[in-house]
């Protein structure tokens, strides 16, 4: 009797242990996950690069104007896709994410990262860059140039063209005069007079017509520049596990 009980107790314990182990199995299933670690492959990456020369369906990239911004060796000067309001809006959003840290939101070249010591890029509003064909901007984003890193891995092709379109719009706006604003929209200029600092948190840059500053004078209104650099650097709130 005694022995049987003991055996039952041990058996139960074993079952419980096995069940607990199962739980862990289901929590961490032995399958490959994004960016997971593998001990099988030499580079320890679960993600495998496609075999060289692989072309996914529909990704042949035959249109060199769209994918390289060049035709033969010449940079294209016409957009290889229709420029719409939606493309410009997308471009503004993407420009503010990927380019504004260095070029700032007006394109003057005073972004936060430059203020922390990165090489200052030229203003996008100098004559040399105004006269460059659109293919040049696409090429700079895709391959980088000098101190400017390339963004091919972070920005898909269509978004790169959207950014180029927005850069063109920025260039237009920074050189604009009141006379360039359609008469029916001029009222907005007065309404949009800067009333205070634009909120640094707001992802929207004031619309093209809003500030229309004189060429190259936009740096003062860089939204990112108003952030207090030292503010949130305070101590660790939670303790790291020992």
């Amino acid at each position: 009797m005694r022995v049987e009980r003991k055996a039952a107790a041990v058996g139960l314990l074993l079952c419980a242990a096995a069940a607990a182990a199962c739980r862990q199995e289901m929590y961490n299933q032995p399958r490959y996950k994004p960016l997971g670690r593998s001990d099988f492959f030499a580079d320890n990456r679960q993600a495998r690069p496609p075999v060289e020369g692989t072309v996914a369906r529909g990704m042949l990239r035959a249109d060199s104007r769209l994918y390289t911004g060049k035709e033969g060796n010449a940079l294209v000067s016409v957009f290889p896709l229709p420029v719409t309001r939606a493309l410009l809006d997308r471009g503004r959003q993407r420009y503010n994410i990927y380019c504004a840290p260095c070029h700032d939101r007006t394109g003057a070249g005073n972004g936060m990262v430059v203020q922390r010591g990165y090489r200052q890029p030229p203003s996008l509003h100098i004559d040399r860059l105004r006269e460059q064909p659109v293919g040049h901007f696409f090429d700079v984003i895709t391959n980088g140039l000098g101190a400017m890193p390339d963004y091919a891995a972070q920005i898909p092709v269509e978004d790169r063209w959207a950014i180029v379109a927005y850069v063109r719009a920025l260039q237009l706006s920074q050189g604009a005069r009141v006379g360039d604003v359609p008469p029916e929209s001029r009222g907005e200029l007065d309404r949009a007079k800067p009333t205070g600092e634009p909120s640094p948190a707001s992802p929207e840059y004031p619309t093209l017509y809003k500030s229309a500053p004189i060429r190259g004078s936009g740096a003062g209104s860089v939204p990112g520049a108003q952030l207090d650099p030292g503010a949130p650097a305070g101590g660790v709130k939670a303790k790291p596990p020992k």
């Binding site: 929590y27 960016l35 891995a153 707001s202 949130p232």
Partner: protein, 218 residues
């Protein structure tokens, strides 16, 4: 023969009665433990191979989440930036700093930096960033004030009840889409009113769908 003293009657009654409370107390302790950060790892900052600070990069410099977490709008997985992304800036800034040696080494040798996971749902749960981000759920709602974190920690419990609390009351949390990446967002008017409007605008499905087991366990 009387073995037990008379007082044991009272004792046994009290202990029978007390047992109910004791069990309830035990249940309460167990429940709080199971929700506590001891179990969920909530608010516990993790050591990382590089002292990467969101407070510096997001809070002080103001870089957008999508600069680094590039797939968060398009895929289930938000994405952790490759070493190349760090080198965009750190080829020049803090280029000699010993803090960044692991990053430079990774860039030289083409070996990945191995970050420690902070958020980790069990593998039997399906979670997708893109639908949340595209339907107006802010990063801050789930991840807290990332712009104030010198090291990353998990700001929410990430338990099933936590997911369900929102799936049953989405109007309490929805934001306009252009505020999804904003930290420190404050709704302009009444949140419930705004939330109901956004529910319609974004076509949020019925609670019965959102709390159905097969939405998250598939």
């Amino acid at each position: 023969m009387q073995i037990f003293h008379r007082s044991t009657n009272t004792i046994s009654r009290v202990s029978l009665f007390g047992a109910v409370f004791f069990i309830a107390l035990l249940g309460w302790v167990f429940d709080s433990l199971q929700r506590s950060s001891y179990n969920t790892q909530q608010n516990v900052a993790r050591e990382q191979p590089v002292q990467f600070s969101h407070a510096h990069h997001v809070g002080a410099i103001g870089i957008d989440c999508r600069y680094c977490h590039t797939s968060v709008e398009k895929a289930a997985f938000a994405g952790i930036p490759p070493t190349k992304t760090c080198m965009n800036c750190h080829s020049q800034i803090w280029a000699q700093s010993p803090y960044l040696e692991p990053v430079r080494e990774s860039y030289r040798t083409d070996r990945s930096i191995e970050w420690t996971r902070v958020h980790d749902l069990p593998d039997f749960v399906y979670f997708d960033h893109s639908i949340h981000v595209n339907k107006g759920v802010g990063c801050e709602t789930c991840h807290g004030r990332v712009d104030q974190m010198p090291l990353m920690w998990q700001a929410s419990r990430l338990q099933m009840s936590w997911c369900l609390d929102c799936h049953r009351n989405t109007e309490k949390y929805l934001r306009p889409k252009d505020q999804v990446f904003t930290m420190g967002y404050v709704p302009a008017g009444d949140q419930l009113e705004l939330g109901r409007k956004l529910q319609k605008e974004y076509g949020i499905r019925k609670v019965t769908v959102l709390e159905s087991c097969s939405t998250c366990h598939r």
